[in-house]
Symmetry: C2
Subunit: 395 residues, 2 copies
Amino acid sequence: MRIAVLGGDGFCGWPAALRLSAIGHEVWIVDNLSRRKIDVDLEIESLTPIQPIGARLSAWREASGRNVRFTRLDVARNYHRLLGFLQEVKPDAVVHYAEQRSAPYSMRSSVEKRYTVENNVAATHNLLCAIVESGLDIHVVHLGTMGVYGYSGAGPIPEGYVRAKFEGFDGTWVEREILSPPDPGSVYHMTKTLDQLLFFFYNKNDRVKVTDLHQGVVWGTNTKECLASETLINRFDYDGEYGTVLNRFLVQAAIDHPLTVYGTGGQTRAFIHIRDSVECIRLAIENPPSDGERVRIFNQMTETHRVADLAKLVARIGGAKIGEVPNPRREAERNDLIVTNDGLKRLGLKPTTLEGGLLEEILEVARKYGDRIDRTRIVSRSYWNSERKNAVEGA
Amino acid sequence: MRIAVLGGDGFCGWPAALRLSAIGHEVWIVDNLSRRKIDVDLEIESLTPIQPIGARLSAWREASGRNVRFTRLDVARNYHRLLGFLQEVKPDAVVHYAEQRSAPYSMRSSVEKRYTVENNVAATHNLLCAIVESGLDIHVVHLGTMGVYGYSGAGPIPEGYVRAKFEGFDGTWVEREILSPPDPGSVYHMTKTLDQLLFFFYNKNDRVKVTDLHQGVVWGTNTKECLASETLINRFDYDGEYGTVLNRFLVQAAIDHPLTVYGTGGQTRAFIHIRDSVECIRLAIENPPSDGERVRIFNQMTETHRVADLAKLVARIGGAKIGEVPNPRREAERNDLIVTNDGLKRLGLKPTTLEGGLLEEILEVARKYGDRIDRTRIVSRSYWNSERKNAVEGA
């Protein structure tokens, strides 16, 4: 198949593009390199020494004999080049990672809030608009987040849709299936709830085919393809803004920094290893919705864990101390979480779990590149609101 | 009170600004004059000869002895001037009309789709962001639409929130109150469903006070204040893109054009006269939510009517023929509609209904300015999708 990966230079996009290329698909990476530019602004670098996109693609040609093409294009700001790209390449599927993906970054100040909303909404809407204008039958595979559901629902988290009973015209309760009520916890998560409505409308009005993957917290760093050469290494964020919780704990353990547990660590979240994340993209692409099918929504996660339990696990295997820092986020101190993930398992996903020994592999990466770590960037400086800022800075 | 009216030069914004000024509030109009510029692009003019904003404001000073100030500012594109404006003026309330408000216009092509999404989302988000950054306690009164609910719900349309039963962790059904499930029928309506989530998040995270008024189709043109001088006259759109259904039928009757009923006219919609619309704004402003209150949502409408019945009524009083044109919109041919509107009635709204004799007044306006009408612009040229375009143009 012909596949465009928007945001294919990023943390999930890069290994996904390589995997799709490795198994024989024709792959185009479309990226404006914004993630690297945000590193410049934040004055930070990936723990792993990622190489420029040109060097990456040469190394991939050498390692695999396969060609992944690259187009530098800002999907949110250059509609007409995006449209031209689709008309020329005629992809069967577009994987859409072209969004600002950090919740803390999205809460830093009005600059980042506005960038996140304007970039993410325009990227998704431009893509949908361009598909309709092109008249092409292109399957959109979008990376959403488990965070669209919030963590205060009535029951197990469904895959996008939920049956609910409403009071009908005659006073009796009528059962209907609806999009699961959104409850975003940050500006970033909010943009993914907006995306859902964009998909809903363009699917209903123009029959655009969409698979929306509501992903949990990604852990791990390299996939088989990224390990083929050091030039292919994937990025690894350990800082308070872009690092994901488990990866951050492992880095902290590697450098003897107390694990930065927010509050008592009672938050339960859904997790997925980067290898599984990439495999899910393949499964979604190779199993497109049929004509006229509504937006297909899968929860892309394999297990749930309480943050405090993760900290204990990392402390045990990495020999670290558990810290407790005031929570910069506005979120429930404690929540339970049961998530349905039948969709991707039905398509063939074999979950990689924390038990699988991959935690040690990440610890090794963290130790190997430990001298690249800036210890002052471990703690997040992004507060959800003025109340949380005062609570943390006053503590 | 100190009140800023964003979009205060438009069809609803102008009479609202005058009304608020007339009853003694200090009013600032903020507008980028985009509605007038869209007229330039569409090569059309308001049926009524509206005057430049400067002339309007001079005439208002003369007629009322009151001063309404004007700031030309693009709320969606100039965040820092908006923030500076709020910091300087310190309004108690901001009425937010600064959005592209035509559904057909929002469906014309990718240009208008993208403009509508980017303008409306950025306008609302910039306002919320700027309020948070300013640290001021400003009440946002937003003009939403009844169209956020769609026209295929299970029962009567509630005011924003609805009680629903969901399957809980233990398999029993748990009752929760949720935002009524959105079902937008156009890109324009979609933007108002996005607005709802922006309000939800900023209210939850930053306690921004918001009243969201889900307005029905507005009919009528002038209010008492607009009639004080011909220079104060309000705009009246009769074209297929910006004209609202009842006003359009009345103009069509005035010039002996068959009434443009889409399909069989089985669509039922909610309506409100412009005088009531303006009065609702006053009621919302003078009754702000309390500290920590969730987003307050009212349905701003006074009655529901089936389009075919409206056509019959106009045909009878205006002596017109009823036409039937293929529907350029993707919508249900027929729907029932029961709407709750207790909120604004509780605050004191006394509904003006079609029975009140105001239809004749609009017919008179339409006849008075009949020589300004371009008959070629009566029919809409905006199609919801390629299927509808083929259906209409092939007919």
